[in-house]
């Protein structure tokens, strides 16, 4: 059963449908918020977003993917959170063109499989640190793709930008992460 069908069933009064939908997306959505805030803030923001979704169930119509709608709610809530607490994170959404030069300076890394499990763990931690250091807009685009499984178009819709902007953010994010991993993987 698709996400949209489950949401329609919940809108029509089936509480079990929402339970299935929630368990299907709760972890990824929580991590999407967690990577851009802290654990306590992420839980609070996650609750807020799910409450908003519950409150809007009566007007729900299948006009887009459910996850696009869910992550757009999360994006808007994050922006509100940044406005209140972290202006620098908010600024990163406006200055992303300046990163073009940085992107061009990042060398392409060779694809090499990690040697063992220890090395893989080290790479995962390194990736997590590099992700944390990304500008907020690029980090969000990366998370929307790898946690929410959204396409470029869906990322653009969820974040309220054009497709090219969303595509650029993804390219910058991946280039930066590759460079960070290249230092660990010679």
């Amino acid at each position: 059963m698709t996400d949209e069908a489950l949401m329609c069933a919940y809108r029509d009064g089936d509480p079990h449908a929402f339970e299935v939908l929630f368990l299907r997306h709760r972890s990824a959505f929580y991590r999407y918020l967690l990577r851009q805030s802290s654990a306590s803030v992420a839980e609070e923001l996650s609750q807020d977003c799910w409450m908003k979704l519950i409150g809007a169930r009566k007007s729900y119509e299948v006009s887009a993917k459910f996850t696009t709608w869910l992550y757009r709610i999360g994006h808007n809530r994050l922006i509100d959170h940044f406005r209140a607490t972290d202006r620098s994170a908010l600024a990163s959404y406006a200055n992303e063109e300046d990163l073009q030069a940085v992107l061009e300076s990042v060398p392409e890394t060779a694809h090499r499989e990690p040697q063992n499990q220890l090395e893989t763990g080290q790479l995962a931690r390194r990736l997590a640190r590099a992700l944390r250091d990304l500008p907020a807009s690029q980090r969000e685009a990366f998370l929307l793709q790898y946690e929410g499984n959204l396409t470029v178009e869906e990322i653009a819709t969820a974040t309220g930008v054009g497709r090219e902007t969303a595509k650029s953010r993804l390219r910058y994010a991946l280039a930066t992460l590759r460079r960070a991993l290249a230092e660990e993987i010679p």
Binding site: Y10, G13, P15, F18, E19, F22, R26, S27, Y30, R31, L34, A39, A42, E43, S46, Q47, W50, M51, I54, G55, R57, H111, T120, G121, L123, A124, R125, L127, A128, L131, Q145, Y146, E147, N149, L150, T151, V152, K167, L170, R171, L174, L177, R178, L181
Partner: protein, 304 residues
């Protein structure tokens, strides 16, 4: 459509590495909270009440008070307004068979015709009530009334009766004497609607003379040929407390309500002057019972 068209926008190796470290989960409290709210959102809520509903009790109380005040004001205006009583009295009665005898005054106001019109039929003087002072004589009075002549409807149909009434009027006889022509049911229905005019024998009435004649009696009440309209007019014109007694004549209550002490004293004097001391004493005893604190004139104090 390929969601990940190029390596520039998607990197499977980086994705795999990311998912290795992405193991965080929200707390169970978070999940319980969201699921609980989702379930409660589907429960039917109590019907939302309009905003004014919280003021329902004060509004109901105010409405009850308004209705009660309106009814009270309406009642007081109906019972104490002289205009209402006069209007009720001035309403022309429905035409009955007796109206043919008084056609010359049929369209005039009743009070005016009672005071001045010589053409008023004898049956028009219907407003007096039996006096408690003469209550013992009520039976004999009734006999006298019956013996005196036909009843008002009969007089109304008789030209001779009308002529006699004109003759009496021209002779200066007060109208009170003519009230006896009224059948007793009609008299009972009209009791209490006007100023007192106790029933007296003709000789007492003549002894009272002009004092009785000046009493504002509604002597031109409708003829007894139509008793139901009379009752209606009497009920509308009479005070609320007097209406029941008017319908069921009591020997003393209507007279006590209607007669003034001075008027009563005059009647007692008249009885005394006529030598009817027993009746005068009986009336005086009734007077003392009715007005225990009233200071009697010296001439009446001398009565045994």
């Amino acid at each position: 459509m390929n969601p990940h068209p190029s390596n520039e926008e998607h990197d499977g190796r980086i994705g795999a590495l990311y998912r290795l470290g992405a193991t965080e989960e929200p707390s169970s409290e978070h999940d319980a909270f969201v699921l609980g709210r989702a379930a409660s959102a589907l429960e039917p809520k109590a019907a939302t009440r309009p905003r004014w509903f919280q003021f329902r009790r004060p509004m109901a109380l105010a409405a009850v008070l308004a209705v009660a005040a309106s009814l009270y004001l309406f009642w007081t205006q109906q019972t104490h307004s002289p205009e209402g009583s006069m209007q009720a009295l001035n309403e022309p009665p429905p035409a009955g068979p007796t109206r043919s005898a008084e056609s010359s005054t049929a369209s005039e106001p009743r009070l005016d015709t009672a005071a001045s019109s010589a053409a008023a039929p004898p049956s028009a003087a219907v407003t007096t009530s039996p006096s408690p002072a003469t209550g013992s004589d009520q039976g004999s009075l009734e006999d006298k009334l019956k013996a005196r002549g036909p009843t008002a409807p009969e007089q109304a149909l008789s030209p001779a009766t009308a002529a006699r009434a004109k003759a009496e009027q021209s002779a200066g006889l007060p109208n009170v004497g003519r009230k006896r022509d009224l059948p007793s049911p009609a008299r009972a229905l009209t009791q209490g609607t006007e100023e007192p005019a106790p029933t007296q024998p003709p000789e007492i009435a003549s002894a009272l003379g002009g004092a009785r004649a000046t009493a504002p009696t509604a002597q031109a009440m409708p003829a007894p040929a139509a008793p139901a309209p009379q009752a209606s007019l009497a009920m509308r014109a009479a005070p609320r407390m007097a209406a029941p007694s008017a319908l069921t004549p009591a020997p003393e209550a209507p007279d006590a309500l209607a007669r003034r002490p001075e008027q009563w004293i005059e009647e007692i004097r008249a009885l005394h002057r006529l030598g009817r001391d027993s009746e005068a004493l009986a009336s005086l005893r009734s007077f003392k019972a009715r007005y225990p604190g009233y200071r009697l004139p010296e001439d009446l104090q001398a009565l045994p």
